[in-house]
């Protein structure tokens, strides 16, 4: 029981008549890296946002380190939010702030870092994702997509979080840059010893990052197993998805 870092139990969420999550359950052990795969619109992002408290689930239970945070409003989450790091799909860098302030944002908000110290940490984190000090004073709009993703990764790990969420970390990148990002994610999370939850539909990325892969379909986790066993899952939904076949049990809403 105690070794579970993050548990989701029977989580439901509807938007109007659209039932996005229909009882999703997932347990993640400390230090484990779980990747959720699934098609667009199957509720991957909603699941992540429920854990972060950006969306309130209708029903279910979400616990972090054994403590129930399901219906905890955002402003009472301070004790939990600093355990979390999040890499957003589009990067979500603050475009009014220079790169280093973006990376150091979480540190500066905690008030126990001076701007000088925060700057030094930001530079160190930028180095760890392969960016030099010269980008520190630039603004996000001046960087390429791949560089923005790296800065975003640096921001997600800057506060040394215990749990890191990655929302489609490789979407919109060329295959080589995608692999660079995958390597950085693996390296950064190993260094921190962090527990990670990634959502993606990029199988190359999933195979590289994951200890365990879980497949979400129709608002539920329908399969979970070790990343090595994904080829022989024995689940026809998983088979169809990882081989990218148009025909199979998964019907796309066209």
């Amino acid at each position: 029981m105690q070794q579970y870092k993050l548990r989701l139990h029977n989580v439901h969420k509807s938007f109007g008549s659209n039932r996005v999550l229909r009882g999703a359950s997932l347990d993640i052990k400390k230090g484990e890296s779980v990747v959720i795969i699934g098609g667009s619109g199957t509720g991957k992002s909603v699941l992540l946002k429920c854990v972060l408290g950006l969306i309130m689930p209708d029903r279910g239970e979400i616990t972090v380190d054994g403590q129930n945070i399901t219906f905890l409003p955002v402003h009472k989450r301070d004790n939990f939010m600093h355990k979390f790091g999040m890499l957003f799909q589009g990067g979500a860098l603050f475009d009014s702030l220079p790169i280093w302030e973006n990376v150091a944002f979480g540190l500066l908000q905690k008030h126990n870092y001076s701007r000088k110290d925060a700057y030094d940490v930001a530079i160190e984190k930028l180095r760890s994702v392969g960016l030099g000090e010269r980008v520190a004073q630039l603004f996000p709009a001046e960087l390429s997509g791949g560089m923005q993703k790296r800065v975003s990764l640096a921001r997600a790990i800057a506060t040394n979080p215990e749990i890191i969420f990655f929302d489609e970390p490789t979407t919109g990148l060329d295959p080589i840059m995608a692999d660079v990002i995958n390597d950085l994610i693996v390296k950064a999370t190993k260094e921190l010893g962090a527990t990670t939850l990634t959502i993606t539909h990029d199988m190359a990325s999933a195979r590289k990052i994951a200890d365990d892969i879980a497949m979400i379909y129709d608002g539920k986790i329908i399969w979970r197993g070790s990343a090595k066993k994904i080829e022989n899952s024995g689940n026809e939904y998983v088979d169809q998805f990882i081989h990218g076949r148009a025909d199979g049990p998964i019907a796309l809403a066209v």
């Binding site: 972060l52 408290g53 939010m81 600093h82 957003f88 799909q89 008030h111």
Partner: protein, 261 residues
């Protein structure tokens, strides 16, 4: 038969409910915004940036508007008053109209176009690109970080802008009065001072503070609840400008009733 009769009633009911829901959402948003204006911590750096953005950079627009309004007021009231030999009242009309009515309302409307739109577009884009969610995940309250500095800056700077507008507007009237209409400079300034009371200026400044709150509130509210994509941000921007302009005109009436009746 019954359904045909009830249809208009149902439409009225639905519209009323939607309207009340919108008012409720706006009020709760405003309440949260004000709460975070008074409860520390306050982001001084951001507040300072907004003061410059909303106040200082609006000076040229507000100044030009006030200058030409003052000049036109002098011209128009002169042609009107000369029909019954009351030209002497021109200076008084200019100063009272400017301080009580035109400087606050016109400055409010200009700032609604300039600031309301830019706030809605900026916060709307932040919503669409998940930057507001990112703030939350970095343990930062978006109301405190984005909304409060703008509301405070709006309430502080608009009265200052209006005070500057008052002076420039009177100066515009003075230019036209002295150089076109042939008033004596001392005479014009004396007439300006003589009938001016403190309440005329103060009521205008209070109006300005309320308008500053309304403009920044509507900009923030529409941006914060912006729809998806470029279209959503576009709609948020339009709504911010239209709704704050209308609210300014409505509250102008309400405040005038309160002060002068």
């Amino acid at each position: 038969m019954i359904t045909t009769v009830l249809k208009p009633v149902r439409t009225i009911g639905k519209t009323t409910l939607n309207f009340l829901a919108a008012v409720g959402r706006l009020s709760s948003f405003a309440g949260k915004g004000i709460y975070h204006c008074v409860v520390p911590p306050i982001y001084w750096r951001l507040l300072f940036r907004q003061l410059i953005q909303i106040g200082y950079y609006s000076l040229p627009v507000v100044g030009l508007t006030a200058l030409f309004t003052g000049m036109v007021l002098a011209l128009q009231s002169y042609t009107g008053f000369s029909r019954f030999n009351a030209e002497g009242a021109v200076a008084t009309v200019v100063v009272l109209s400017m301080t009580r009515e035109l400087a606050p309302v016109l400055a409010g409307l200009m700032v609604a176009g300039r600031i309301g739109a830019s706030i809605a577009a900026e916060i709307g884009t932040m919503r669409v690109t998940e930057q507001i969610d990112a703030l939350t995940t970095l343990s930062t309250n978006p109301y405190k970080y984005l909304i409060a500095p703008r509301l405070i800056a709006g309430v502080i700077t608009l009265p200052m802008l209006v005070l500057v507008g008052d002076v420039i507007g009177v100066f515009g009237g003075y230019i036209v009065g002295v150089y076109t209409l042939g008033f004596g400079p001392e005479n014009y300034l004396m007439n300006t001072w003589e009938y001016l009371e403190a309440i005329d200026v103060i009521s205008g400044l209070i109006k300005a503070a309320v308008f500053g709150f309304l403009v920044t509130l509507m900009g923030c509210y529409n941006g914060f609840n912006s729809g998806r994509g470029a279209q959503g941000v576009g709609r948020a921007t339009t709504n911010a400008v239209v709704s704050s302009s209308i609210l300014i005109l409505v509250f102008n009436f309400i405040l005038t009733r309160m002060f002068f009746s």
